[in-house]
Amino acid sequence: MSDADLFAAVERELPAYARSLGIAVDSIEGGSPILVVPFGKIVEGRPTVFHGGATSGLLENAGYAALRVELARADRQQRLKPINVTVQFLSAAKSRPTYARGRVLRLGRRNANIEVEAWQDDRTRPVATAVMNVLMAAPEDGSGS
């Protein structure tokens, strides 16, 4: 899949919540998606600073996007169910766009472990990181629809 196709596929699969929050695909780097969210009132906590919940929302979505890409690459179609997320807040995310990229550290049959980093101007100084565990179920399992 070309980077342009990958870009379109990742964008297509962003959930309603991600779109509402203003999350978009920024670019594809080394075959893995970078998501971005602009600063604005809807992500603001303390004045001029991102709310930790909004940063977490970006991190989680970047984690899921990275996992969906890996699953598509392995030709696997599975439903993703969150097990947990641990977010580390390293410094205040200021009134500028925040980027995030996930890396799938382990892709098992049933579960995946993903590491995600979020940054602003300086890629080498992340503002927050997350570790996620995700369960991967059969497509029809528990869908109820």
Binding site: P15, A16, Y17, S20, V43, H51, G52, P82, F89, S145
Partner: protein
């Protein structure tokens, strides 16, 4: 700890704190509080769904809810509105929230040191004994203000 400000009251604070920014956008509401805990509610909304067509709230807004309830629990426990920052927050998702259900988040500040505050809480969609998520976190006071004030 003399202060010119009245003690922090989450019910009163919610009337302005939850009107603006990210909590305002999510539509968080105050529900209840005790000496060291605060419960907020997050109404269900179609545009906050985590998987198209599922009708189930995304996990992101639940993290926001728990972060906010935790911060307010700390201010309630200390009676003071000090600048704090989330250091670390862990959310274990027990099960999806029910389709179309609002989610409540209750967080308790169970331990405070000079510069750190430890919180734990649950998110539930009606029955606190059957939580949607368990949460644990640590917050830090910003700028060592407490030290300066003793």
């Amino acid at each position: 700890m003399a202060s010119d400000l009245p003690p922090f009251d989450p019910a009163t604070a919610a009337t302005f704190m939850l009107q603006h920014g990210h909590p305002g956008w999510l539509g968080m509401r105050y529900v209840a509080h005790g000496a060291d805990w605060v419960e907020l509610a997050l109404p269900w909304r179609e545009d906050l769904v985590g998987e198209t067509g599922s009708g189930i709230l995304a996990t992101g807004p639940i993290v926001s809810l728990m972060d906010m309830a935790s911060g307010m629990a700390i201010w309630t426990a200390t009676s003071e509105f000090l600048a704090i920052a989330t250091l670390d927050l862990r959310v274990d998702y027990m099960r999806p929230a029910r389709k179309g259900a609002a989610v409540n988040g209750r967080s308790e500040c169970y331990r405070r040191t000079r510069s750190a505050a430890f919180v734990r809480g649950i998110a539930h969609d009606g029955d606190p004994d059957d939580p949607v998520a368990h949460v644990a976190g640590v917050f830090m006071s910003i700028g060592g203000r407490r030290d300066e004030r003793r």
